[in-house]
C-alpha cells in the first residue's frame, strides 16, 4: 500500500515536473531565439562587416571597432563598441578639440543642446578632459536589426554634417554660428514632435521640410499643390538630400509618383552617394515605392561612396526581400541589355563616321599637269603653283586631322568594350570619348585652314558627318555642349 502511495507520489512529482518543464520550454526557446540578437565582441564585428563597413581594430582583436563615414565629403572615424556589461552598443565620434572651454560661445553650447532635442537618439556631449564635443548614440544590445542600425548610422552622419558650424571651432565667428539659426527645424505638418510625445526624428532624410513641402504621411495633396505652384521637385536639403529621398524613405508611393511625374530626378545622390532607391530599400523596404522608382527610371547600378549599389542594400531590408531583389535584378538586366544595344548602335555610328571622315581626308598628290616632252606654258606653271599651294595647305591640314583620327580610334575602342561587356559604369567613358571626338571635329571644322581648304575645293564640300555621334550622345544621356 505504502509502495503504491510512493509510486503515486512519484507519478505526481513527475507530472508536476513535466508540466513545469512544458512551461519552461515556452520560455527557454524564446530566449534561445533571441540570443543571436544580442551582439558580442565577435558578432559585432561580423555584424558591421555584413552591413558593408570595414571595422578596424588596430593592434587589438576585439572592440572598439572603427568604421569610416563621410561627413561633408570628408571621411570621419566612428567608433563602435560594447559597454562593459555588453548590454549596450555605443557608437560615437570624438570631434576636434575646441581648446579652452571658456572660449566656447554660448550659442554653440545652446545650439548643440538644442540639437539633442531633435537629433535624438544621437546626442552631443562635452568631454572636459579632451576639451571636445562628442556625438554619441547608445543602442540597447538586443533586437537591433541591420536596417535600424544602418539607418541610425546614416542619421548620425547626417547630424554631424549639418552641425559642423557648431562643433568645428574653426568655423566659429564673433557672431553666432550660422548653424544656430537652423538647428531647430520647423515642425512639419503631420509630424508628431511635441512636448508631450517626444522626438520622433530618428531617420534621415524623412524629416526635412523644403520650402514648406512636407513629404510625410498624408501630405501627397499638399506636395502636389506646392509643386503645381512652382516648387522645384529637385529641391535639395542638407547634405544634398532630395524631396524624393524623403518621400521614398517614408514609404509614400503616392508622393513619390507625384514627384516623379513633376520631373524629380530619381538618380540624384546625396553627399554620401545614396539615392532615393537606396533610401526606400533600407528605410522601409516598401515594394510600392521601390517599384515606382524603378519604373520612374531609377538606376539600380548607381553606387554610393562605399561602392554599394541598391542591390547591396537589399540585404538590409526585412520586408519582401526576394521580391525586391527580383525587381532590382530584372531592372538591372534590362538596363544592361539596353546599354548593350546602345553600345552596338554607337559602335556602328562611329564606324560610319570613320568612313565619312576617311573620305574627307584631304591629302592628295599633285596632279600631273605638264605633258612630258612639252615646254610648259605660263598657264601650266600657274596651275602647278596653285596645285602646290593647295597641297601644302592640305598637308598642313593633316596636323588638324590626326588628332580627330586618334579620337575616333579611342572612341571605337571604348564603345567596343562596352558592347562586349555592357557595364553601365562604362557608359560614362564612351560618353567622354564621344565628347572628345566631337570637340576635335568642331576644332577642325572651325579652323581657318579648314575653311580655306573648303574655299579651294569649291564644289567638293568636305563633310565630317558628326550628326550621328551627337545623337548617340543624347542616347547616352547627355547632349554635347
Amino acid at each position: 500500500m505504502a509502495q503504491r502511495q510512493d509510486q503515486r507520489n512519484l507519478r505526481l512529482a513527475a507530472s508536476l515536473i513535466l508540466s513545469l518543464c512544458t512551461g519552461v520550454s515556452l520560455v527557454v526557446p524564446a530566449q534561445a531565439q533571441q540570443a543571436p540578437d544580442r551582439l558580442t565582441a565577435a558578432t559585432l564585428k561580423a555584424f558591421l562587416y555584413n552591413l558593408g563597413y570595414t571595422p578596424r581594430t588596430g593592434a587589438r582583436t576585439g572592440p572598439p571597432y572603427t568604421i569610416t563615414g563621410i561627413v561633408n565629403g570628408s571621411p570621419r572615424s566612428i567608433t563602435v563598441t560594447l559597454s562593459p556589461e555588453e548590454d549596450e552598443i555605443i557608437v560615437f565620434t570624438e570631434l576636434p578639440s575646441v581648446g579652452d572651454p571658456v572660449r566656447i560661445p554660448a550659442s554653440v553650447s545652446l545650439g548643440l543642446l538644442a540639437e539633442n532635442r531633435h537629433a535624438g537618439p544621437p546626442h552631443f556631449s562635452f568631454d572636459p578632459d579632451g576639451r571636445r564635443f562628442v556625438l554619441r548614440v547608445v543602442f540597447t544590445n538586443g533586437g537591433l536589426t541591420p536596417v535600424s542600425f544602418r539607418t541610425q548610422v546614416e542619421f548620425f552622419l547626417d547630424v554631424l554634417s549639418r552641425t559642423a558650424s557648431l562643433w568645428d571651432s574653426s568655423k566659429w565667428t564673433a557672431s553666432p554660428p550660422a548653424g544656430t539659426q537652423t538647428t531647430e527645424k520647423p515642425v512639419e505638418p503631420g509630424e508628431k514632435v511635441t512636448a508631450e510625445t517626444g522626438p520622433v526624428r530618428d531617420g534621415s532624410p524623412d524629416n526635412y521640410a523644403a520650402e514648406g513641402v512636407a513629404v510625410g504621411p498624408g501630405q501627397a495633396a499638399k506636395v502636389q499643390e506646392l509643386l503645381d505652384a512652382g516648387t522645384d521637385p529637385n529641391w535639395r536639403g542638407p547634405n544634398e538630400t532630395t524631396l524624393l529621398m524623403g518621400a521614398a524613405s517614408r514609404a509614400e508611393p503616392t508622393t513619390v509618383k507625384i514627384l516623379l511625374a513633376k520631373g524629380a530626378d530619381p538618380n540624384l545622390q546625396n553627399i554620401a552617394g545614396v539615392t532615393a532607391l537606396m533610401y526606400s530599400i533600407f528605410s522601409t523596404g516598401s515594394y510600392a515605392v521601390i517599384e515606382a522608382l524603378v519604373r520612374g527610371g531609377a538606376d539600380v547600378d548607381l553606387r554610393n561612396t562605399h561602392g554599394e549599389s541598391a542591390i547591396s542594400y537589399v540585404r538590409m531590408t526585412d520586408a519582401r526581400r526576394l521580391e525586391i531583389l527580383n525587381l532590382l535584378v530584372n531592372a538591372a538586366i534590362l538596363n544592361h541589355l539596353s546599354v548593350a544595344a546602345m553600345a552596338q548602335r554607337t559602335l556602328a555610328d562611329i564606324g560610319e563616321f570613320k568612313k565619312a571622315f576617311t573620305n574627307s581626308m584631304v591629302l592628295r598628290m599633285p596632279m600631273q599637269i605638264i605633258s612630258p616632252g612639252l615646254e610648259p606654258t605660263k598657264e601650266d606653271v600657274e596651275r602647278l603653283k596653285q596645285q602646290i599651294e593647295r597641297t601644302t595647305k592640305e598637308r598642313d591640314l593633316m596636323n588638324y586631322q590626326s588628332p580627330v583620327w586618334d579620337e575616333i580610334v579611342k572612341a571605337e575602342t571604348v564603345a567596343s568594350q562596352l558592347a562586349s561587356n555592357p557595364l553601365p559604369e562604362r557608359v560614362a567613358a564612351v560618353r567622354a570619348a564621344l565628347e572628345r571626338l566631337l570637340s576635335r571635329c568642331t576644332a577642325l571644322t572651325s579652323s581657318k585652314e579648314w575653311k580655306e581648304l573648303v574655299e579651294l575645293r569649291l564644289g567638293h564640300p568636305i563633310l565630317v558627318g558628326d550628326a550621328q555621334l551627337r545623337r548617340d550622345l543624347r542616347h547616352l544621356g547627355e547632349a554635347p555642349r
Binding site: 505504502a2 509502495q3 502511495q5 510512493d6 509510486q7 507520489n9 512519484l10 505526481l12 512529482a13 508536476l16 515536473i17 513545469l20 512551461g23 520560455v27 527557454v28 524564446a30 530566449q31 531565439q33 533571441q34 544580442r38 548590454d87 566656447i104 560661445p105 554660448a106 550659442s107 554653440v108 553650447s109 545652446l110 543642446l113 538644442a114 540639437e115 539633442n116 532635442r117 535624438g120 537618439p121 546626442h123 552631443f124 556631449s125 562635452f126 568631454d127 572636459p128 554619441r136 548614440v137 547608445v138 543602442f139 540597447t140 538586443g142 533586437g143 537591433l144 535600424s148 531647430e184 508628431k192 512636448a195 508631450e196 510625445t197 517626444g198 522626438p199 520622433v200 530618428d202 531617420g203
Partner: protein
C-alpha cells in the same frame, strides 16, 4: 517511503527553480507595442497614466529629492525606439545660459544612455533615454530608470527653478 522522499525533493527543487523560470517578465528581446507597454510598466511596479490617444505617452511618476517628476514612456512611430523622457517646466527670462548648457553637455558625457537637451523655443530642458525596442529587459529598464531618477535629482534645482 524512500521513493516518496525522493519525489518530494525533486518536486521541491522544481518548485524552487520555478520563480526564476516562470516569472512574469518579458523574455530578453521582447518587442513592446503600445499595448504591452502598460503591462510592462505595471510589472515593474508603476501605475501608468493611460494616454487619451495612442499618439500620447504613458506617464509614470519618478521620485527624486522628495519631488515627483512625471516621466513619459512612448514608442516612436516606427516602433523601433522606446522613449523615456521628462521635460522641465518652462524657464523664465532668457531661458538657459550658455554656461549651464555647457554643464549639461558635460553631464551627457557620463550620463549615457540618458542625455539632456534644450528647446530654445519652449525654454524647457529635456532628459531622454532611447531604448532599442526588442532588446529591453525589465532589469535593464529598471537600472536606467534609476539612473534617470538620479539625474533628475541632480539637476532638480535648475529643473524646478523658473529663473
Amino acid at each position: 517511503m524512500e521513493v516518496s522522499r525522493k519525489a518530494f525533493l525533486v518536486l521541491l527543487g522544481a518548485v524552487w527553480a520555478t520563480p526564476t523560470l516562470a516569472q512574469n517578465e518579458p523574455p530578453r528581446g521582447m518587442r513592446l507595442t503600445q499595448d504591452t507597454i502598460k503591462t510592462f510598466l505595471e510589472n515593474l511596479g508603476y501605475t501608468p497614466d493611460v494616454p487619451s490617444t495612442p499618439d500620447h505617452p504613458y506617464i509614470i511618476y519618478v521620485k527624486a529629492n522628495a519631488a515627483s517628476f512625471p516621466v513619459g514612456v512612448t514608442l516612436n512611430p516606427t516602433q523601433n525606439v522606446l522613449w523615456l523622457f521628462a521635460t522641465s517646466p518652462q524657464l523664465d527670462g532668457e531661458g538657459l545660459t550658455g554656461e549651464l548648457a555647457l554643464r549639461l553637455l558635460q553631464a551627457n558625457d557620463t550620463s549615457g544612455p540618458a542625455y539632456f537637451s534644450y528647446s530654445r523655443e519652449e525654454k524647457r530642458i529635456g532628459l531622454w533615454i532611447a531604448f532599442t525596442n526588442g532588446g529591453i529587459t525589465p532589469g535593464y529598464f529598471r537600472t536606467q530608470l534609476e539612473q534617470f531618477s538620479r539625474l533628475l535629482g541632480q539637476i532638480s534645482a535648475i529643473w524646478t527653478s523658473r529663473k
